[in-house]
């Protein structure tokens, strides 16, 4: 299974930078499936889930953006109260420190995107709890 990667872009000015990134990605025929902005004190990081990750990374980098490709874990949960609490408590028990985390519900499927330095430990928890980890292909075909 291919690891799922986001394209992360450093941005000191969110709105302007987002507009420029989106423009460049559109020109290159890259489709954005999800995006998130993490911001503090006047700067932040824009994170994209796109269909052509390597291409997006290359074009943004060549246009002077500071980018990286953090790996994430995409997990499907039951779309019902308590399931997020269940997963995060299990991760906490295993000592997994979440760096960034976001979730959404699409077509009745609840998906959580997990970023952590302890990816393997998190993956083990997901497997032990019999939860489904989505491959990049699966995530993009939602």
């Amino acid at each position: 299974m291919n690891p799922t990667k986001l394209v992360a872009v450093f941005a000191e000015n969110h709105t302007g930078r987002l507009a420029r990134c989106a423009g460049i990605l559109a020109e290159s025929g890259v489709n954005i499936h999800w995006l998130g902005i993490a911001g503090v004190n006047g700067f932040g990081v824009i994170r994209f889930l796109v269909d052509k990750t390597d291409l997006a990374y290359r074009v943004l980098k060549s246009r002077g953006f500071t980018c990286s490709l953090p790996e994430i874990l995409a997990v499907e949960m039951a779309d019902e109260p308590g399931s997020l609490h269940f997963l995060t408590s299990k991760l906490a028990e295993a000592g997994v420190n979440l760096k960034n985390c976001s979730g959404f519900v699409f077509n009745g499927r609840a998906i959580i995107l997990i970023e952590t330095d302890q990816l393997e430990a998190a993956r083990r928890v997901v497997r032990e709890q019999d939860l489904h980890e989505l491959s990049e292909e699966e995530l993009l075909s939602l």
């Binding site: 450093f10 993490a38 006047g42 700067f43 002077g64 980018c67």
Partner: protein
């Protein structure tokens, strides 16, 4: 190794006698031939007869950069025009530049003094010097050129830029010494890494002279580590022949200032009062050998101190500490004094910091430091950036005792300053 052993190893009392004789000659010459000095001396109520020894120097008035600029183009000339063979100018951003004249003998002397500096760092006629400074009105490239030629090196007068060609020249002519600006040295190191060229294996550079821009010890360490070379601190200014006024010896611990050429004083930058030996203040220089354009008690605005202890290399010429700032650059924020170089020093020592920065002063004495991120250190997480911000905040506060606001910006987004870096923007109105 010595170039002019008899002068470099002169006994202290012999040096003093030489200085006294040369000072009296210089003062008599400007009194006689430069109306500007005759007027100034008159206003101060002194004449050449007042100068019996070098201690009497402090009775003479100062010469400032503004005086030199106002005397443009030839108000300070002490020799007939027919006897001068060269003029250099020092860039001024506003108004007139400073014009500096040389007689044939002045150029000869400058070449020998430069040759002393190069020999002092272990350079010999076997070396190949690639001179990557701009040749022209600026003194830097030409004076280095003459000094290296005097030593007998092979010179590659490449000038700056065209990095790809520079590297080809280094390879083809087996360059062993570079002369360039510190920012270009860092760029070159970057370039070689990107091209997969290992300077330690693929090139033969062993010594690098950097100049024309202020830089810190951390920058020197970076250049030394990246290129596998020795970088020697040098000090000079166009008003005093350019590079080679003071230079480090192999000890790399302070710069020997050639006291047979220049009389040095350290004064309080505000009051002009001479400070005791060893205290930090503004360097004031009087030329002792210049024919075409002698300068008396010239205010360099550079901040340093004299290191009075003798140097293990045996040279009698006293050392100065590396320049810690410009008197004009000193900033006062919330009543605290500091120099921008102190901030640069902190930045260059922290991983994750890129090549450029800017210091911003705003209303209500708000200090903001804009810092370019290093592209390779970005991991895509906001936490890493936040940690970097906190580290910088703490380290700068410890250094200058003022808490800054740190703004992280993209690599390459801040303006690159040409030549002498101007990185402070003061928007405060008083």
């Amino acid at each position: 190794m010595f170039w002019q052993k008899e002068i470099e190893l002169l006994r202290r009392d012999e040096l003093r006698r030489l200085q006294t004789e040369r000072l009296r000659k210089t003062v008599a010459a400007v009194w006689e031939r430069v109306p500007f000095y005759r007027k100034r001396f008159g206003e101060a109520g002194v004449g050449p007869e007042a100068i019996g020894s070098i201690e009497d120097l402090c009775q003479l008035p100062f010469t400032t950069a503004e005086d030199v600029r106002r005397s443009y183009p030839e108000g300070l000339l002490a020799a007939p025009r027919s006897e001068v063979v060269r003029v250099h100018t020092s860039s001024g951003t506003t108004g007139n530049p400073k014009a500096i004249y040389f007689s044939r003998r002045d150029l000869e002397t400058a070449a020998d003094v430069m040759a002393r500096c190069l020999t002092m760092t272990g350079a010999t006629k076997e070396d190949v010097l690639q001179n990557m400074m701009t040749y022209g009105l600026f003194t830097g490239a030409l004076m280095m050129h003459y000094g290296a030629e005097r030593v007998g090196m092979l010179i590659v007068p490449s000038g700056p830029g065209h990095t790809e060609r520079q590297v080809k020249l280094m390879r083809d002519f087996r360059t062993t010494i570079l002369h360039l600006t510190p920012s270009y040295a860092l760029y070159l190191a970057d370039y070689l890494e990107r091209q997969g060229i290992d300077p330690r294996k693929d090139l033969r550079i062993r010594i690098v002279y950097v100049g024309a821009e202020a830089y810190t010890e951390e920058t020197r360490a970076r250049i030394e580590a990246a290129l596998g070379v020795d970088v020697f601190n040098c000090y000079g200014l166009s008003e005093m022949n350019g590079p080679g006024v003071a230079f480090e010896c192999l000890e790399k611990s302070g710069l020997h200032l050639w006291e047979d050429q220049y009389l040095m004083e350290i004064v309080d930058p505000e009051s002009g009062r001479p400070l005791p030996e060893g205290e930090r203040g503004e360097l004031v220089l009087t030329t002792l050998c210049r024919e075409a354009m002698p300068l008396i008690r010239y205010r360099t605005r550079d901040i340093t101190r004299i290191l009075p202890e003798p140097c293990p290399c045996g040279r009698v010429h006293r050392r100065i500490e590396r320049i810690s700032g410009r008197a004009d650059d000193m900033l006062i924020v919330r009543g605290v004094n500091f120099y921008p170089q102190q901030i640069e020093q902190v930045l260059m020592g922290v991983r994750g910091v890129g090549r450029n920065y800017q210091i911003l002063l705003e209303q209500a004495d708000e200090l903001t430091v804009r810092v370019e991120l290093s592209a390779s250190a970005f991991d895509g997480r906001v936490e890493g950036l936040r940690a970097l911000q906190e580290t910088l905040e703490r380290a700068i506060r410890e250094e200058i005792l003022v808490k800054p606001k740190i703004e992280l910006v993209s690599p390459g987004s801040l303006p690159v300053s040409e030549g002498k870096a101007k990185r402070v923007i003061d928007n405060r109105t008083l």
